[in-house]
């Protein structure tokens, strides 16, 4: 299981970084999403993954650490998921607005072939 989890984190992070370095805002946002998935799994595994044990106290189970999994990373990962989700939504709105204002979904808001001063015209300033 360790190998599977570790390689899943690695593959997700690799995809995320590759997409993050691309020039289209949609790709960049996808990259951010993949990177945050990798991060969530990483935080989750920081509490040493164990199988079949609960993070909260249960009746009939001895109250020692050997019978439970670490609950803290689960709380942390919840915070991380919420923030990453909200930020993805914000960046999508921002990317759409930038595209409609600047008529390009390039991260620099203009196509690389065009001369740089063409970019300022459609948006007409900030």
């Amino acid at each position: 299981m360790e190998l599977a989890l570790a390689s899943a984190i690695g593959v997700l992070a690799g995809i995320g970084i590759y997409l993050l370095l691309r020039a289209r805002s949609f790709d960049v946002i996808l990259g951010m999403t993949f990177l945050s998935y990798a991060t969530n799994l990483l935080i989750f595994s920081a509490g040493r993954p164990v199988i079949g044990k609960a993070p909260v106290l249960k009746d009939g189970v001895a109250t020692s650490l050997a019978h439970y999994t670490d609950p803290l990373p689960q709380a942390l990962v919840l915070t991380a998921i919420v923030i990453a989700f909200a930020m993805t939504a914000v960046s999508i709105v921002l990317a759409m607005r930038s595209r409609s204002d600047n008529h390009s979904d390039h991260v620099d808001a203009h196509e690389p072939e065009l001369p740089a001063d063409d970019a300022a015209k459609p948006g007409a300033g900030a």
């Binding site: 993050l20 805002s25 960049v28 946002i29 951010m32 990177l35 945050s36 991060t39 990483l42 935080i43 595994s45 920081a46 509490g47 040493r48 803290l72 990373p73 942390l76 915070t79 991380a80 923030i83 990453a84 909200a86 930020m87 914000v90 960046s91 921002l94 990317a95 607005r97 930038s98 204002d101 600047n102 991260v107 620099d108 808001a109 300022a120 459609p122 948006g123 007409a124 300033g125 900030a126």
Partner: protein
């Protein structure tokens, strides 16, 4: 338990919630502004009391939910936290004063976002838990996205996308570092981590070093260190003036985190981790200072110039904190509020000038110098701020830089003196060049095209007052230099002896709960 510690977070939080309720147009700006000012006044009282307590050398820990510090989240108010809180408060008062003259009506949710930004800033300075620091970073950043983008379009959307993507990626790295730290050390409380780093078995050392390096990288990217500063000049220069002035403190949050982490975790007792990263930080700070001074010289707009000055001040602080002896840290702490206030004042002056140029352009009478209406006041303010920010004598910038240069250890004297003094010279040249172009030049012929925003009345008295207030802080810091420097000396000593911090955080026990 000392409930005063949590008030600087709670008051703006309540203020923000109230601002949301009264946002509707039928309440009008008067109600919204009075709520904002009431919240600010309450915050001023709380921060003032807390500052008075912490300046006595007292460290008070506050256990949220009454959990012991090693399990739950603890807030810790020490000298450094009190110092940063006071700086933030004074800056926020001036920014709010400036915004209340008109910008707050054009940007939806301005007051709520402003208060949330204060929640994030104050929380980041007060928290004693590294994951909680991440959460407050996010609160601060999310509010800053809103402040930067509301009311904007076109170019500012593009800049905003860069800013958001960069910061979200940095936050993701922050999380990765936190996950690895928890896996190796088993705690997220800063004092507890400091204790455990010293006792780390050699087999875990590499992983811990990687995690801590990543953490420092994230803080440096927020504070705009050399390879990671490229996002800053454009986004600060494009932000509305009141917001840009408040953002000046955000780079200082990164610096604060670096100082907190290095003093608490990488102190002399930390064994293998002692002094981790300080060489890198020093050289990166020196390189950043050189590049940012060149950027200030090359800036074509005043707001870009000021944004580079923000990077210059961050780089100077990196050098001061990376050298890491009591003298340089104390000088850096004295320099920090001063450079913050003056850079914020320059953003406001840049906005005043931009609007005047706009009106002059509209009339299109290319006459000589006198066409720019009422240029004397901003001109004098600019002169004053330029003297302050470049570190020329009578003002506090000079005192701080002199104290810093004096405290530099023998081994680094040559390079640090050369870079700090050389960058000051370049900054002065950049400021003089901009001053000549702005105040002695025929307006509206060669600068970047002014942004076509709706016409506004000439500078309202409160706008000038806000800039004057910020410069007034700088004058007061000069007049009261001796007591303030004694204070920063005490803070530096407290930071260099983290045992007291450790002891006080661990010594605070839950009141009701059995540990």
């Amino acid at each position: 338990m000392n409930h005063l510690v949590i008030l600087p977070i709670l008051i703006p939080l309540l203020g923000a919630a109230l601002s949301l309720f009264i946002e509707h147009r039928r309440y009008g700006p008067k109600v919204q502004r009075s709520v904002a000012w009431a919240s600010m006044a309450a915050l001023a009282v709380a921060v003032g009391l807390l500052f008075a307590q912490t300046s006595q050398g007292q460290i008070s820990a506050y256990l949220l939910g009454d959990w012991p510090a090693r399990l739950g989240i603890a807030l810790v108010a020490d000298g450094l936290a009190g110092w940063m809180l006071a700086t933030t408060l004074l800056l926020a008062i001036a920014c709010l004063l400036y915004a209340c003259t008109g910008w707050d009506r054009r940007a939806p949710h301005f007051h709520a976002l402003f208060q949330f930004q204060l929640v994030g800033l104050n929380g980041a300075f007060l928290t004693g838990d590294i994951f909680n620091l991440f959460v407050f970073f996010e609160v601060m950043l999310i509010a800053s996205y809103g402040l930067l983008l509301s009311g904007g379009r076109g170019l500012r959307m593009r800049i905003g996308l860069h800013y958001v993507v960069f910061n979200v990626t940095a936050s993701t790295l922050f999380l990765i570092a936190l996950g690895m730290l928890y896996a190796t050390l088993g705690s997220l409380n800063m004092a507890e981590i400091g204790q455990r780093i010293a006792e780390l078995p050699p087999s875990h050392l590499k992983l811990a070093k990687a995690a801590l390096g990543l953490l420092l990288l994230v803080f440096c990217s927020k504070a705009a260190l050399l390879p990671m500063y490229l996002w800053l000049p454009e986004s600060y220069a494009r932000a509305p003036a009141a917001v840009a002035a408040l953002f000046v403190i955000m780079t200082k949050v990164g610096l604060y985190s670096v100082l907190r982490v290095t003093s608490l975790w990488f102190d002399a007792d930390a064994g293998a981790m002692s002094g981790y990263g300080s060489d890198w930080l020093l050289w990166a700070g020196i390189a950043t200072l050189a590049v940012a001074a060149l950027g200030a010289l090359a800036a074509t707009r005043m707001s870009v110039l000021v944004a580079y000055l923000v990077v210059v001040s961050a780089a100077t602080l990196f050098i001061a904190f990376a050298l890491g002896n009591a003298g340089t840290i104390s000088a850096g702490l004295y320099y920090l509020p001063h450079s913050t206030f003056v850079a914020a004042a320059l953003f406001l002056i840049a906005d005043l000038m931009r609007r005047r140029r706009l009106q002059a352009d509209r009339r299109r009478n290319h006459e000589l110098v006198a066409v720019l209406p009422g240029k004397t006041v901003p001109g004098l303010l600019y002169l004053f701020a330029a003297v302050a920010v470049a570190g020329l004598p009578p003002l506090a910038g000079f005192l701080a830089k002199a104290a810093l240069l004096q405290a530099v250890p023998q081994a680094h004297t040559g390079v640090v003196w050369a870079v700090v003094l050389g960058s000051s010279l370049l900054v002065i040249m950049g400021l003089v060049r901009t001053g000549i172009r702005l105040f002695w030049h025929v307006p509206g012929d060669d600068d970047a095209a002014p942004e076509p925003e709706p016409a506004e009345a000439p500078a309202r008295p409160f706008e000038t007052a806000a800039a004057c207030l910020l410069l007034g802080y700088a004058v007061l810091m000069t007049v009261f230099a001796a007591p303030l420097m004694r204070q920063t000396d005490a803070i530096a000593d407290q930071l260099l002896a983290p045992d007291q911090y450790l002891h006080d955080v661990r010594g605070t026990t839950p009141q009701v709960r059995q540990p």
